[in-house]
């Protein structure tokens, strides 16, 4: 396309052929006020604010609609232009409410910024009271304050032109034009796909997000995509959901593997905080993201990701990793790819940490874990199993340039009153390990598990599966507040595990060193405060329950020795800086040993951070990012889909069709980030004009 030279306000600037005068001016750093114009939408010239004068013709035109011509001379602020603009703005203001202070868009409102820029504060025209502002009502995702609408039409256009949906319409009633929907139906009953594009382009507070859907702080491209933002590893979830929907499983798997080691294992057992934050959960139910991931990895026929793996040349540096769990192996994998020689020391006979010794096999088959460990090891990591490191110093003496401590949190944590040892009481972490090793003692007829998280259900369901007659879970949380996944609770219940909610153990009655029974009380509330656990006990609720075995599933903690040379925090975790380095130079830490117990995906993310920190320490650039699937431009046009708002979740995929139907439900929050931001008059862009010399 050829370049066009034109003069605006005395500045000689260059524009592309086919560009509007407005866009050419904005690109060149000359601000012309505008409101209905948006860089992603076709201009309609209805707000009249972008009026300019073509010098020599006495003609006032809308600069958004006028194409540049070579030799054009434009005046953006002649008196007649200013007069026209002022009248246009006052017309808009005649019906706009003045109570800006109760509007959440305050200080982020394009109209407010324009008032400031144009020096107009009020309309001299008669105030117009709109008649139809109450027709459109808010729903669970979109807040409508239509009395703030200035009918710029951007929302209608973005919905129609960009998204190909057309849920929003320009309606007429009582002699008044207003923005609405077809037949004034609520959005849930229209073709709306809740992509948020209308919210994004609304210049005022008329259409907004319901507060709380997105986090208040953080980079916009992250916060607007809650699943990706909440995932500790920031996996590009919307993209792989879209690829699964297109049946491109290998590509989806590649996207997943950009951030996740152990993707299939995570497909089975991930704590999926992504689903909890899913925007669709406010509408009906979240997308089955974990199941989608599992389906993609399982159906990855070509393993195309392998072709794109980034590997650096040998650095000649050596790294020792203590602990072969998710955090340690993840760090080892990326460090090996960065060209470092990595040796992993794992004290157990098998690597995998909690994946191998914590999570029961009925939830996660060992073969899945082993296969995934092997994929990582193929990068040339040396794994020593059954090998416990006693001294960090020795490792350093053995020419390791850096050491990563990723030994996990393998010690049970009990309420302070119950720390003594009974021969029929166990910590959950030991119980799970022994169950896997096949070294569990005789459990008796009645097993009580204290705790309400996934680990508690791992213990309870394992005991039940091993034939224990009566298994009960005692937990302080009410049913709906339990920490465990809903499916774990459901399965436990189905398998006959008795769940006692809102109960606390008040006393353990023993005979010698054997627990004989427990006294439980009902509680109406509890909280962990500075003073410790505080709870409201319901009077007279105490009762005694006999038990043959008592399992504490009340948490885990690291048991890293205090004399190892690295500083520990009060709770026994290792203190680290932002680079994941401990108090000892060259010694890093990651995973549960740093933050207590969290989740496998958290360990993966932590392992990635450690790899970055260690690589930087060893003189590398610290970058482990890789694009295993080459990005394509997103298609912004998502079109319509029947009953989209009502589509129900499919949690378990039997066939391809299930995967397609479920992924279709995605609101595609990431597309909103592709929409351009309108620049305010204060933008640095408008501080200097990009002039061309003749």
């Amino acid at each position: 396309m050829s370049k066009q030279n034109l003069q605006i306000d005395g500045y000689c600037i260059q524009a592309e052929e086919g560009q509007s005068v407005l866009q050419a001016a904005l690109d060149a750093g000359i601000y012309i006020p505008h409101l209905c114009y948006h860089p992603d939408l076709t201009p309609s010239g209805n707000c009249k604010l972008c009026a300019v004068e073509i010098v020599g013709t006495d003609q006032i035109v809308q600069s958004c609609e006028t194409l540049v011509k070579d030799g054009m001379v434009i005046n953006t602020h002649s008196d007649s232009v200013k007069r026209l603009r002022m009248t246009a703005l006052e017309l808009l203001l005649a019906s706009h409410p003045k109570d800006c202070t109760s509007c959440d868009k305050y200080l982020h409102c394009e109209l407010q910024a324009l008032l400031q820029y144009m020096g107009v504060a009020h309309s001299r025209l008669r105030e117009i009271e709109k008649e139809n502002t109450n027709i459109q009502v808010s729903d669970r995702l979109i807040k409508k304050e239509m009395h703030r609408c200035i009918q710029c039409g951007r929302c209608v256009k973005v919905c129609e032109e960009v998204r190909g949906i057309g849920a929003l319409t320009i309606n007429k009633k009582n002699g008044e034009t207003y923005i609405g929907t077809k037949d004034d139906r609520p959005l849930m009953e229209t073709d709306c796909r809740f992509c948020g594009a209308c919210v994004e382009v609304c210049p005022t507070g008329a259409i907004q997000d319901i507060p709380g859907i997105f986090p208040a702080t953080g980079p916009r491209q992250m916060t607007l995509v809650p699943c990706k933002n909440e995932c500790p590893a920031h996996t590009d979830i919307p993209l792989y959901i879209r690829l699964v929907n297109e049946k491109r499983y290998s590509e989806a798997a590649a996207v997943i593997r950009e951030k996740l080691t152990f993707p299939l294992s995570l497909g089975y057992i991930c704590s999926h905080v992504c689903e909890a934050s899913c925007k669709r959960s406010h509408l009906n139910e979240s997308i089955a993201i974990r199941e989608t991931k599992k389906f993609a990895i399982k159906n990855d026929q070509t393993m195309s990701w392998q072709k794109h793996v980034k590997r650096s040349a040998n650095s000649g540096k050596k790294v020792a990793v203590m602990g072969g769990g998710a955090a340690g192996l993840t760090a080892a994998y990326y460090l090996a790819k960065k060209g470092h020689l990595v040796e992993v020391f794992e004290k157990q006979p098998m690597a995998g940490g909690m994946l191998s010794y914590g999570i029961p096999k009925y939830r996660l088959p060992q073969s899945v874990v082993n296969d995934e460990i092997n994929i990582l090891l193929q990068e040339g990591i040396t794994l020593h199993t059954g090998s416990q490191i006693k001294s960090i110093k020795k490792l350093q003496e053995n020419k390791f340039d850096a050491v990563l401590v990723a030994v996990g949190a393998s010690q049970g944590k009990r309420p302070p009153a119950y720390r003594q040892q009974w021969n029929n009481a166990m910590d959950a972490v030991d119980f799970c390990r022994k169950a896997i090793e096949g070294t569990l003692p005789e459990m008796g007829d009645v097993v009580t598990v204290y705790g309400g998280g996934n680990v508690a259900f791992d213990c309870a369901r394992t005991a039940k599966k091993m034939g224990v007659k009566k298994v009960r879970v005692v937990c302080m949380e009410a049913r709906e507040a339990m920490m465990a996944d809903a499916e774990e609770i459901e399965m436990g219940h189905y398998e006959g595990v008795e769940i006692l909610n809102s109960q606390s153990i008040a006393e353990i009655k023993d005979e010698g060193s054997t627990v004989a029974s427990i006294a439980v009380v009902s509680i109406s509330s509890f909280a962990f405060t500075e003073k410790g656990l505080e709870m409201e006990i319901i009077e007279g609720s105490e009762r005694e329950l006999e038990t043959d075995m008592l399992i504490f599933a009340t948490g885990q903690q690291p048991d890293f020795p205090a004399d190892s040379g690295v500083d520990l925090a009060g709770n026994g975790t290792i203190k680290i800086n932002q680079q994941m380095m401990t108090s000892q130079p060259g010694v890093f830490a990651a995973g549960d040993v740093v933050y207590g117990t969290k989740s496998v995906v958290e360990a993966v993310a932590s392992g990635r951070c450690a790899a970055m920190g260690i690589d930087r320490y060893l003189g590398g650039d610290g970058s482990i990012d890789e694009e295993l699937f080459q990005r394509e431009k997103n298609n912004p046009s998502i079109g319509t889909c029947q009953n989209f708002g009502q589509l129900e979740r499919i949690s378990c995929f039997q066939h391809q069709e299930d995967a397609c139907s479920e992924t279709l439900r995605c609101l595609q929050c990431d597309l909103r980030v592709d929409l351009q931001k309108v620049k305010y008059w204060v933008d640095p862009q408008f501080k200097t004009v990009k002039v061309v010399s003749e």
């Binding site: 002022m86 409410p97 003045k98 109570d99 800006c100 202070t101 109760s102 509007c103 959440d104 868009k105 305050y106 200080l107 982020h108 407010q112 910024a113 008032l115 400031q116 820029y117 144009m118 020096g119 107009v120 504060a121 009020h122 001299r124 109450n134 009502v137 808010s138 409508k144 304050e145 009395h147 507060p211 702080t217 953080g218 980079p219 916009r220 992250m222 916060t223 305010y680 204060v682 501080k687």
Partner: protein, 506 residues
């Protein structure tokens, strides 16, 4: 933008005070970075109309008989000398010069105005393009001019940027600010002086509860200008700044009615019978146009609630003569929209409308605050007012209308009897424009610690440091909050540069 952030002065908040401080410091050749959370400058003051000043050229031209000495004495007597007299004196002295100073930036003022009958004529309302009438939001014009002046002087304004922490060195000198930029990334900016001007905590219900004792949304319905969340005060206190007792710039409101149904609201804010839940009068309704006094009086009543009652006969008078009180900013003079607004309100329209934010729960949103009833029995039933007492009060009040108001000495012209027929009643609660004060400073706007010793390099200005009204905002000197923000910002900007030029700094 470079990754190294460094300036002589960093200003937190780009509202009235912050942007003024930026211009002041930059005019004295300091390099300045201004951190603003929003996408534009001006903050809460964009909603305002003008600033207080005394002995300005406008006042001289308008023959306003009110001197700096008068203003000083008025404010000091009003506050019983419980506020910093040096700061008050300096502020009043500078105020007229500030008008001239701002005019050099291309701002025009319409003149000096009163806010209500009994107030002084100190309010310098900004002129808007093409209009010679005072208008809401007019002040936003002034902040455009200040912003452009700041840019001209090389001030770097970082929009959508939040300060998170003030940094000090081991000797207690301020060294920088930790911030989160537009990209969401945390950075550190180094500087020699920090000016905090974040506008108080009007949008922070938790701080309102803890520091002022109101439960926002039930017994307080103040403006919550989005973003004014007290971060500045918290940052200041964290680095050892001394606390003062903040107050609320009080007014009163009928939730869901004021600012939405303006005719109803204005009609129910006329000086007619006002009672509390016990059915007793507690105020000379004549002072209702002093919204601060009225807010104070309502705050003292049971459940912090009060009711104004009118009837068809009073409405009829207003239909004929117009309203007794007309406010400058709402400018509702007649009741011509009464019937339409009342019908719409009683039908439940406008519930989602402005003034009732997300923090109001469903019950609160749907709670009625204006009623049209056929008898006093019904009135008391819907409002919970004590019936027998109210009957007695109305009997006494009507007698007062015929003779004189022996109870509170209200002027006869405002004594309109309640004759029955249909009654209209509005429930009022305390409201406010936001918090005032919270951090200790001296008259250079230097922040002091609890012992009164200054923290070198640390300044606070505007609403965060606005401790000059004592327990209640002084409504007699209109334009005061914004003017204090502007003038204290100006003082802070100059002081920060003086500090860097001083021996103490080296």
């Amino acid at each position: 933008m470079s990754n190294v952030l460094e300036a002589d002065v960093i200003i937190i908040g780009g509202g009235a005070s912050g942007i003024t401080a930026a211009v002041a410091a930059a005019e004295k050749d300091a390099s300045v970075i201004l951190l603003e959370k929003g996408s534009t400058t001006g903050g809460a003051a964009n909603m305002g109309m003008g600033i207080f000043a005394v002995e300005s050229k406008y006042q001289k031209a308008q023959l306003v008989d009110f001197t700096k000495e008068d203003a000083f004495n008025l404010l000091m007597n009003y506050t019983h000398w419980r506020v910093d007299a040096r700061l008050v004196r300096k502020y009043i002295e500078q105020s007229s010069d500030t008008i001239d100073w701002i005019e050099t930036m291309g701002v025009e003022f319409l003149g000096a105005y009163k806010y209500f009958e009994k107030s002084t004529q100190t309010w310098h309302v900004v002129k808007t393009q093409g209009s010679n009438a005072p208008a809401e939001r007019a002040a936003s014009n002034m902040f455009r001019a200040l912003t452009e002046r700041a840019e001209e002087l090389g001030v770097e304004i970082m929009y959508n940027t939040k300060a998170t922490q003030i940094l000090k060195d081991d000797d207690g000198f301020v060294t920088g600010v930790e911030l989160v930029g537009e990209d969401g990334v945390t950075k550190t900016a180094e500087c020699n002086a920090v000016i905090v001007a974040t506008g108080g905590f009007g949008d922070n219900p938790k701080m309102i509860r803890e520091m002022l004792g109101y439960e926002w949304g039930s017994d307080l319905h103040s403006f919550r200008i989005p973003g004014v969340q007290g971060e500045g005060l918290n940052m200041l206190w964290e680095v050892g700044a001394g606390k003062t007792e903040p107050t609320m710039e009080l007014t009163f409101t009928t939730p869901g009615v004021t600012d939405v149904f303006k005719t109803i609201s204005e009609t129910m804010r006329q000086p007619n019978l006002m009672v509390n839940l016990d059915g007793h009068r507690f105020i000379n309704e004549e002072i209702m146009n002093n919204t601060v006094y009225t807010g104070n009086a309502i705050s003292l009543q049971r459940e912090k609630a009060a009711f104004t009652i009118i009837d068809d006969s009073i409405l009829e008078t207003y239909r004929k003569t117009g309203l007794d009180y007309v406010t400058v900013h709402h400018n509702v003079k007649t009741v011509e929209k009464w019937d339409k607004e009342l019908e719409s309100y009683l039908k439940g329209e406008g519930i989602e409308a402005g003034g009732l934010s997300e923090l109001h729960n469903k019950d609160q949103k749907h709670q009625r605050h204006v009623f049209a009833v056929d008898s006093l029995d019904e009135l008391c039933e819907v409002t919970g007012i004590h019936l027998e007492n109210l009957q007695q009060t109305i009997e006494d009040y009507n007698k007062g209308c015929a003779e004189s108001d022996d109870m509170f000495f209200k002027k006869h012209k405002y004594m309109k009897p309640l004759k029955g027929g249909k009654y209209y009643v509005a429930r009022h609660y305390p409201a406010g424009y936001g918090s005032l004060g919270g951090v200790k400073t001296n008259d250079n706007m230097e922040v002091l610690d609890a012992k009164g010793i200054k923290i070198p390099g640390l300044y606070a200005s505007g609403t965060d440091a606005c401790n000059i009204y004592g327990d209640s905002y002084c409504f007699f000197l209109p334009g005061n909050t914004m003017s204090f923000a502007v003038n204290s910002g100006r003082i802070a900007g100059y002081s920060a540069v003086d500090f860097m030029d001083s021996d103490e700094f080296n």
